[in-house]
Symmetry: C2
Subunit: 231 residues, 2 copies
Amino acid sequence: MTQPGSGAAKAARHTREDVVVAALGILDQYGLADLTMRRLAAILDVQPSALYWHFANKQTLLASIADRIVERVRFVPQTDDELTAASVTGGQWQGATRAEAYALRDALLAFRDGAEVVSSALALGLGAALPITRLTASIRPGGFDRRTSGIAAAAIVHFVLGHVSHEQQRLQADSLGVVAEAASANPTSAHPTTAGSVPQAVESFEFGISLLIAGLDVQHRQASEPTTKPV
Amino acid sequence: MTQPGSGAAKAARHTREDVVVAALGILDQYGLADLTMRRLAAILDVQPSALYWHFANKQTLLASIADRIVERVRFVPQTDDELTAASVTGGQWQGATRAEAYALRDALLAFRDGAEVVSSALALGLGAALPITRLTASIRPGGFDRRTSGIAAAAIVHFVLGHVSHEQQRLQADSLGVVAEAASANPTSAHPTTAGSVPQAVESFEFGISLLIAGLDVQHRQASEPTTKPV
DNA sequence: ACCTGAACACCGTTCAAGT
DNA sequence: ACCTGAACACCGTTCAAGT
C-alpha cells in the first residue's frame, strides 16, 4: 500500500505513456490548436511544468503522438492472395502499395488533425517514419532499386499527407463556419463531428494514388523492356 | 502638405499593402513562427490593435501573404516552342504541366516557410488557388475533361506542397540544430541562410512529378485507344 | 480613414525546491 | 521518480476613444 495516496483524489503519479494518451484525447476531441501544454496538464491534474519531466518540449510530445497515429498502418487489410504472394518475391506490388496508401490515409483520418501532426513530425525528422518504411518495402518487389523505391514512397507519402491535410482542415473549417466564398456547396450533414470525410474526397484520393502507381508501373516496364528509349 | 507629419519620425499612416509587404519581410527573414501580430506592428511602428483595421484576423493576413507568394507562378519560363504551340490546341501538355509544377516549387522556395503558408491558406479555402487553376489549364489540352484535370492538378499541388514543405522544414531544422538521429549526414554548406534547397531535393522532386505526369499520360492513352480495358 | 491605450484571456518554458 | 510554485517573456484579439 505504499503506492499512491490512500483513496484520496489528488496526486496520481503519471507515466510518459499516460501523457501521450491524454494528449491524443485532447487532439481528437478539440483539435491541434487546443492541444496546449497547460490544458494537457489540467486534464492530468498536474502543473504545466510537470510535463517537462516527461518530455523535453512540446515538439517532442507531438512527435510521440505522431508515432502513435501512424502505428495503425500495421493493420493493413490484406487479402489472402496478398498474404500468400507476399513470401514469394514479386507478388503484385501495385495492390500492396495501394493498400499501404489507404492504410496511411485511414490512420491519419482516425484522429483530428492527424495529417498535420504527422506531417510536421516527419518533416522535422522526429518520427512517423513507419509509412515510408512500409511503402518502400511494398514498392521494392516491383523491381526498383532501394533508392528509387524510397523516393517513390516519399512521393506517395507527400501526396497522402497533402490530400488528407487538406481534407481535415476543410472538415474543421466547415464545422467552424470559417469557410470563404466558394468551395462549400454541398448540403449534406450539418456538423461532421466524428472523424468522417468529405464527400468526393475518396475519389480524388483514389485518382492521385492511381496516377502515382501507374507512373511507377511505366518506369518499371521501361526498365524491364530490352532497349526502348523513353520519349 | 496636409498629408503626414511635417518631417517628424512617427505617425506614418499605412495601407493594407504596406502591412502585407512588411509581413512578407518578417516571414522571409525570421520564419513563420516569428511572424506575430505584435512583431509586425512593431516593425510598422504601430500598436498591434492597428493591424485589425486592415485585416479581420491573422488568418486573413496569412491568406493575403499566400496569394502574394503564389503570384510568381505567372512567370513560368516558357520555351519558344511552348509559346507558339500554346495557341494551337494540344501542344505538349506534359512539358507545360511540368513547367507549372516547377514554377510553383520556385515560388514556394522563394520565401521562407512559403509552402506551409500556402498550404494552410489553400486548405482553408482562403486563397492561393492560382496554381490549381493554372495546372488545370495546362493539363486539359491532354484531352482530359474538366473534372479530371482539376483533381489531377490538385494531386500535383499536394505533392509539390508536401515536398517543398518537407524541404523547407528540414532547412530550418538543420539551421537550428533541432535535427534528430539520422537524416542529416551531408557535410555541405554550414548554414543555409538564403532560401536555398536541400542537395538531392530536386532529384526526388523531379521523380515525383515524372510519376504523376507519366500516370496521367497512361490514362490519356488508355482513353484515346479504341477499346483496351485497363488491367 | 487610420490609429492609440488598455485590457482580457491566454501561451511555452525554466528552475529551484519539495516528497 | 515525479511533481509544485513562481516566475519570465511572450501571444491574438477586442473595444472605446482619439485625430
